[in-house]
Amino acid sequence: MKSKITLKEIAQLLDRSANQLNAGSANALHSARQLALQRQQASTATWVDRHGLLHAHGTQQHRLLNWLIAVIVASLLLGNIVYLYHTSEHSHGDIDIAILTDDMPIDVYVD
């Protein structure tokens, strides 16, 4: 066996060992890689524009969905505010009419 060895030679031997993997392990690694790549394609679909920049379809869809949710929440809030405003106005109107017609319920005077 060799009596002297350097760190570089250790690295070379480790590389050799990695390249001498048995067929079973090499196939398993290949399958693992394919599986991982499928996951990537499932999570984001990408395309290249004419400037060579890559865009992710998935991220745009997510962004659109976020905007849609924000718009729905905002419109619900607005609707709620408008409804509350109208109902309170209506109840004030009832009291005003009651005051004018001297037809106030007794509990109004209790306070």
Binding site: M1, K2, S3, K4, I5, T6, L7, K8, I10, A11, L13, L14, D15, R16, S17, A18, N19, Q20, L21, N22, S25, A26, A28, L29, A32, R33, L35, A36, L37, R39, Q40, Q41, S43, T44, T46, V48, G52, L53, L54, H55, A56, T59
Partner: protein, 204 residues
């Protein structure tokens, strides 16, 4: 290249990686990653599972990141996956020990360190049988010594001297300071040197 990336970032567009680039990267690192996991867990099937997990995590969570970020991210994920495996093993061994104390003591054959020394049947051997034998013996001795190193020392040693990362890159991949990387590397080299010396090999 960095300028281009930062300019693209500045304009609000990042150059993302393609599935082809990720595939090339994984093909390039998968064997080394497998060996790294094997040194750490000393179990072929567990090592394969760890590498597969790490590949999937990279693809799922960081698959669209710029390709130059892949090596660091993958190493970080791989180290974390190995650590998760250790944690699970620790919990499992705790319960196994607890349960075995209630059962009769019939020790089956557990892990034997000599198993790692056995050379696998492989077709790619050097031409001369003598050289092949010597080389496989040397590889076995080195791999045995590496698997005896503490986890962090082995990580630092492999990243620095096998993956040829510089101290800053190793520190980023390991999530520690550059000073810690230097300490781990120095200790690993000393320990490795001592273990190889026992076998009549001088590490210079």
């Amino acid at each position: 290249m960095n300028l281009l990336v930062s300019a693209a970032d500045h304009l609000g567009a990042t150059k993302l990686s393609t599935p082809q680039q990720l595939s090339e990267f994984l093909a390039q690192v998968e064997r080394r990653a497998y060996k790294q996991a094997q040194f750490a867990v000393r179990d072929d099937h567990a090592a394969l599972d760890i590498v597969q997990d790490a590949m999937m995590k990279l693809a799922e969570s960081y698959g669209e990141r710029p390709p130059e970020e892949f090596p660091m991210l993958f190493q970080r994920i791989l180290q974390n996956t190995i650590r998760d495996y250790y944690r699970r093993q620790k919990v499992r061994s705790f319960w196994t020990t607890l349960m075995s104390s209630f059962s009769p003591q019939h020790e089956s054959d557990d892990f034997d360190p000599l198993d790692t020394l056995q050379d696998k049947d492989n077709a790619s051997q050097p031409d001369r049988p003598d050289d092949a034998l010597l080389q496989s013996q040397l590889i076995a001795v080195i791999e045995e010594a590496l698997s005896k190193l503490p986890l962090r020392q082995r990580e630092a040693f492999l990243l620095r001297y096998w993956h040829e990362m510089d101290t800053a890159e190793t520190a980023a991949a390991m999530g520690c300071s550059e000073g810690s990387v230097k300490t781990h590397c120095s200790r690993a080299t000393h320990a490795l040197s001592a273990m190889l010396k026992e076998k009549g090999i001088d590490l210079s």
